[in-house]
């Protein structure tokens, strides 16, 4: 702050502490500090404040970024090179709002089918995620076989999304009875042992798309949507926003 008046003022003292003076002005401030003990004491105190702030808060700079931050960034990266970027952004910003605030707007949808999906998914999640010995029927080492087998049983080509970017690795999957026939469950786990499941069911009729919907039960958040004949539900003990970020990855990878 070098409003180059003859006598360095209060602002100059701060600018001196913060290293924001040009050399000429700095020299004037130094000259003042020699004769003004009060100003010198204050400058020294302010300088120590800055040092102490750095000493106190700089360590956080080296902390690994929080999971949700990493997830948001990698989600954004994918979006930027997605051809349907604009559409996807709009979809993901609006979908949760529509899903949450506009639930009653969708009364004309096949309500029974829409409510059965998250119920079955959360039930399957609750039954199999605590399983220690046999959480999955076919483990991820035989991923190709798993996908072929479940695709055959569901009579639909399935894909298994990769959630590695979020720290979740595929454990495997299993075949389940669903309301309309066979259903599939894929299970994922992170380093802390938190498990996510993606439940896929085939429905008898193609009823188009629905928005993303959330529901919660016993600490498990379920995000579900229907696309054509397939119903998807992603379940896990995560916040809605984080689960949505992961679902976004699934959405892209499933090529919807």
């Amino acid at each position: 702050m070098s409003e180059s008046g003859p006598v360095p003022g209060e602002d100059d003292l701060h600018a001196y502490v913060d290293g924001r003076l040009d050399p000429a002005r700095r020299a004037q401030v130094v000259a003042r500090l020699r004769v003004d003990a009060d100003a010198a004491a204050r400058v020294e105190a302010y300088r120590r404040q800055n040092q102490a702030l750095h000493g106190l808060f700089d360590p956080v700079l080296d902390d690994p970024l929080p999971g949700p931050v990493r997830a948001s960034l990698s989600g954004a990266r994918r979006r930027t090179w997605s051809a349907a970027r604009a559409a996807a952004v709009a979809w993901f910003v609006l979908a949760p709002l529509v899903g949450w605030f506009g639930r009653e707007w969708f009364v004309d949808e096949p309500a029974a089918q829409v409510t059965v999906l998250p119920r079955d998914a959360v039930l399957a999640h609750a039954v199999y995620t605590p399983e220690v010995l046999h959480p999955v029927e076919v483990d991820a080492e035989r991923e190709e076989h798993l996908v072929q087998w479940l695709s055959k049983r569901l009579q639909t080509p399935l894909r298994v999304p990769d959630f590695g970017a979020f720290g979740y690795g595929l454990m495997g999957g299993r075949l389940l009875p669903g309301a309309d026939g066979p259903a599939a469950q894929f299970m994922y786990q992170d380093a802390q042992g938190t498990r996510l499941t993606l439940y896929v069911s085939v429905r008898q009729a193609d009823t188009g798309q629905t928005a993303f919907r959330f529901t919660e039960q016993d600490g498990v958040t379920v995000l579900y949507w229907i696309d054509g004949r397939l119903g998807y539900a992603l379940s896990g003990p995560l916040t809605r926003s984080y689960l949505l970020t992961i679902a976004e990855a699934a959405y892209h990878q499933l090529g919807l």
């Binding site: 702050m1 209060e10 602002d11 701060h14 600018a15 913060d18 924001r20 009060d38 004491a41 204050r42 105190a45 302010y46 120590r48 404040q49 800055n50 102490a52 702030l53 750095h54 000493g55 106190l56 808060f57 700089d58 956080v60 700079l61 080296d62 902390d63 970024l65 929080p66 949700p68 931050v69 948001s72 960034l73 954004a76 990266r77 930027t80 952004v89 910003v93 926003s241």
Partner: protein
């Protein structure tokens, strides 16, 4: 890639948020909200303008909204219940550092923001003015008052006496 530039700023946003709210969970929530809003509005950010200032402006607005909500919800202090930062008493300044935390908490938010953006994040005064949406003169007066309050608090005085000389 602009996203890389954005990612580069996150540690600094975290540091500022932590110093501002003094609670790791709340600080990281603030960072996350800032990031999400920044990603949504990324198309509005003009290339060539200062990304860092823009991000701090977003965080400031979110934080102010949050404070307003909290103040209307209940007249609770911002730092109430905030867990203490663990400060390793490694040198003779350790006590000073602990006092600084307490003094920061006592500082009105308007002063705290300016003191931290200048002293910790090393933004220029003009950048601070832009990030907080206040005139440059206001930045300088808040900086001056904020630092002076910290100084008297750290000197263990209640009045504006001179700092004890060691």
């Amino acid at each position: 890639m602009p996203l890389d530039d954005l990612e580069e700023q996150i540690p600094s946003l975290r540091r500022y948020a932590l110093a501002l709210v003094r609670d790791r969970v709340r600080a990281d929530d603030l960072v996350q909200d800032t990031l999400e809003r920044a990603l949504r509005k990324f198309s509005l950010w003009r290339r060539g303008s200062n990304l860092r200032t823009w991000l701090f402006a977003i965080m400031h607005n979110l934080f102010m909204n949050q404070l307003r909500r909290e103040r209307t919800a209940a007249e609770t202090s911002l730092t109430e219940g905030a867990p203490e930062l663990s400060v390793a008493p490694s040198d003779e300044h350790a006590l000073d550092v602990r006092d600084l935390v307490a003094a920061l908490d006592q500082l009105p938010v308007e002063y705290r923001e300016v003191v931290l953006l200048v002293g910790l994040e090393e933004l220029s005064y003009r950048e601070v003015a832009r990030a907080l949406g206040i005139p440059l003169g206001t930045v300088m007066s808040r900086l001056s008052r904020g630092r002076e309050r910290l100084r008297t608090a750290l000197a263990g005085d209640t009045g504006p006496q001179l700092r004890r000389v060691k």
